[in-house]
Symmetry: C2
């Protein structure tokens, strides 16, 4: 292949995209057209297109061709923001009633609540549900026996093997199956902390953790977390210097709400800090497998001191309703199993066996291969709408995986008001106030791209843009 030829085409196309000949979402000329127009071989044209795709300028859509990708204005890394607290202090967490209500009823991932009730299941989920149903029908007299508190050996073996492939040192006997990731986080914090202890959390960060801290009587130290790199480790170090932090809850891969991905160097530094200041890390690993481009192993893979308790779940990758999660720790294994036993005895055996069979038969990986490109396309469509179609364009985070992004609106916009106005029209967003125990992020909202942008959801998104513009002008 002639290097010059494909490079020349690559440059020509990238310049044309930059100059606006094609807008984001436009389809490029077909391969056949480019071959004819440019007098190049199909191989050369393909090579140029592939390189443009790798650079993130275009994307291929099966059976449709190559399309120009939106060029997002990402939030700057570590930019000072009026929302970010620079010297955090421990605070007792008290989630107010409104937030509680939001969490219970509405803090879901669908902008058009319950639209999913009418949607067909994706093929992977159909297969998973069939597998679980088969295990249930096969049960025989086993309905009379509780499963072991630690969970099904088959599922624990399979999950441990998957983690080992990521470089984690995980033995199946150190893994306890839980009722989703929330129970995993609960057990982890129960092991590490006593009432009154200090826990560092991402800010903005997962509201479920804040509620847990409140429930356990723990104090939160909110560490600023930016939308690209996640937790600010300099601030964490300052806080650890000043306060006796017992645990740090962190989502290195695709933190909610921002979708931040903590870089490798920061992960190493975080483990050094944990060692230096003698705290433990609770790793919320629930979004990691939903990586668009650069999957990174769990933080736990770098941990040589047993400082990380790893918490995961199938809720975000497969099914929220099966309630299967897990928590992994060699050091706290016995304590975790004891907690599982006394607080909920056991997990359904048939569900675990169904999930285990599904993973073992390759159904899970097949599902991810189909699901992740869809998520990425849904993210793109969401960002394109926000940045190009809304009357008042907003800067959003540009997550490289996970299910949600983060919008910072002008300072004077109160997202609780946005929430209420949207709710009147059956549109659901998650207001920024949920992601902090302090008084930050009132002008921020989280939007999810978990679901396909069908007509209803697309319409909801446009109405939301209108509501924001209206409130902005008040």
């Amino acid at each position: 292949m002639n290097n010059f030829l494909y490079r020349s085409l690559e440059q020509q196309l990238s310049e044309e995209i930059e100059q606006g000949r094609w807008q984001p979402g436009d389809r490029l000329p077909s391969i056949r057209t480019l071959v004819q127009e440019q007098g190049l071989s199909k191989t050369t044209v393909m090579h140029a297109l592939n390189r443009l795709e790798a650079r993130g300028l275009i994307e291929s859509r099966p059976k449709a061709g190559f399309f120009v990708r939106p060029q997002y204005k990402p939030m700057p890394v570590n930019a000072p923001s009026s929302n970010i607290v620079s010297s955090p202090a421990p605070v007792p967490v008290s989630v107010n009633a409104v937030t509680q209500e939001l969490m219970c009823r509405s803090a879901a991932f669908d902008i058009s609540p319950d639209a999913g009730t009418r949607e067909a299941l994706p093929p992977g989920l159909l297969q998973l549900n069939r597998t679980v149903a088969r295990e249930l029908r096969r049960q025989k007299g086993l309905h009379q026996y509780y499963d072991e508190p630690a969970g099904s050996q088959q599922l624990r073996d399979i999950l441990a093997r998957r983690y080992k492939r990521q470089g984690c040192q995980v033995d199946a006997c150190d893994l306890t199956v839980t009722t989703g990731c929330q129970q995993a986080l609960f057990f982890a914090l129960m092991c590490l902390c006593q009432r009154g202890d200090l826990v560092a959390v991402e800010s903005p960060g997962f509201y479920g953790v804040l509620q847990l801290l409140e429930g356990l009587g723990l104090k939160a130290i909110e560490i600023p977390s930016d939308p690209v790199q996640g937790m600010d480790l300099d601030v964490l170090a300052q806080a650890a210097e000043k306060w006796p932090i017992k645990a740090c809850v962190v989502t290195p891969s695709f933190a909610t709400p921002t979708g931040a991905l903590m870089p490798l160097e920061n992960r190493k530094q975080l483990l050094v800090l944990a060692e230096q200041y003698d705290f433990h890390i609770v790793e919320d690993d629930i979004y990691r497998e939903l990586a668009f481009d650069h999957p990174m192993p769990p933080l736990q893979a770098l941990d040589r001191q047993g400082r990380v308790i790893l918490c995961g779940s199938i809720s975000k990758t497969l099914s929220r309703d099966l309630r299967v999660g897990w928590v992994i720790s060699e050091r706290w294994r016995e304590e975790i199993q004891r907690l599982k036993l006394v607080t909920s005895l056991a997990t359904s055996r048939y569900v675990q066996q169904g999930v285990a069979s599904f993973i073992e038969d390759g159904g899970y990986d097949r599902h991810l291969r189909r699901y992740i490109p869809n998520l990425q396309a849904q993210r793109d469509e969401l960002i394109t709408t926000i940045q190009y179609e809304w009357p008042m364009p907003c800067a959003s985070s540009v997550p490289q995986g996970g299910l949600t992004l983060w919008l910072e609106l002008p300072q004077h916009i109160d997202s609780m008001q946005v929430y209420a106005r949207a709710r009147e029209q059956d549109i659901l967003i998650t207001p920024g106030a949920l992601f902090t125990a302090a008084d930050h992020f009132r002008n921020c909202i989280r939007i999810s791209y978990t679901h396909p942008w069908n007509t209803d959801r697309k319409a909801a998104l446009n109405v939301l843009g209108g509501i924001l513009a209206e409130i902005n002008e008040l």
Copy 2:
């Protein structure tokens, strides 16, 4: 009907049974034979037989006739026993490692562990599992949505209606669905108690409660509980006079291990004590629907002060593996839902809907009508074996419902030794030490009649009798 005639036949038959003309398990002459031999009308013969059945001397088996019931030697009510503590004091609970191991792996209900894996499902369970599997296959996009923390409205409505029929004041909104009864007990104690608080429990009583007290840092006051009437309320009153009891955990209908049924008068007295000494009651209602003769409403039906938190489950009546339980309290409703949310988020929606449909379609009541007579027959067979076939007959409790009975062996027999010797031969019993945080009941064991006495289990029971006799002679 001539009163004299049926009374005369009734007396004749009861004397013949007493004098041993018929042994327990023998079939009485058929109705036709009795009509012919005695020259009585069929109505008169039937009336005499029904009266004998009501007295517990005989039992009718459909299409087979009337059989002599074993006359058990029940444990005396309120008899002084070296096992029973008469002035209990609060103790921190520390369940030792052996007990923990027993609980995790073996504290099941089957004397031949895992024999159930080869047994066919009873028709009710087949139907239930099919219903749950159907709900799972019907799920559509709902796998993307967590259920509400409180649980499925349909299931909550149905359960509330069932309780209302028992005279309980239960509103569906006060009911939270849980991961089995264990999570229900956990939430109840979390609401009522702070670390260090005192909780009155039955002694012997459910080991899961003792573990929970340990996990929550609560202190147990063990109140003697006899095998017929349950908790000794005089001792409870003395304890409450002396110590600031915060909560009392009690199983009024068929407490494990003994199967005791608390009489109505005692229930009323317990509620008076709760009022007088200002403590709350956690009612473990898991066995109530497994009543052989005289079903009693829950204690909660008598509660006019909101002092009872009611905990239930389908684990003992339907399936342990579906992990569906519930906790009911008007006063603590919000706190319970908050605990559910932060510790496990939600319960599987499809399972709840399957269980709800099964109950609504009458499948649950049909199942109970078939299951309960089987349980009673299994109890009879177990007691008959113990009292008539073992080389060393032992006195056992004679539960009127539930799944387990309680054997008090001679003082010098150590049930941990029995446990170990039986375990070597793959036979499982639950040693008495599990049912106390103190050092009582070392000479007691719990045996369950949950499972049919097939050849394996019958053989296991005979081997167990041999082991006991052997240890007795040492």
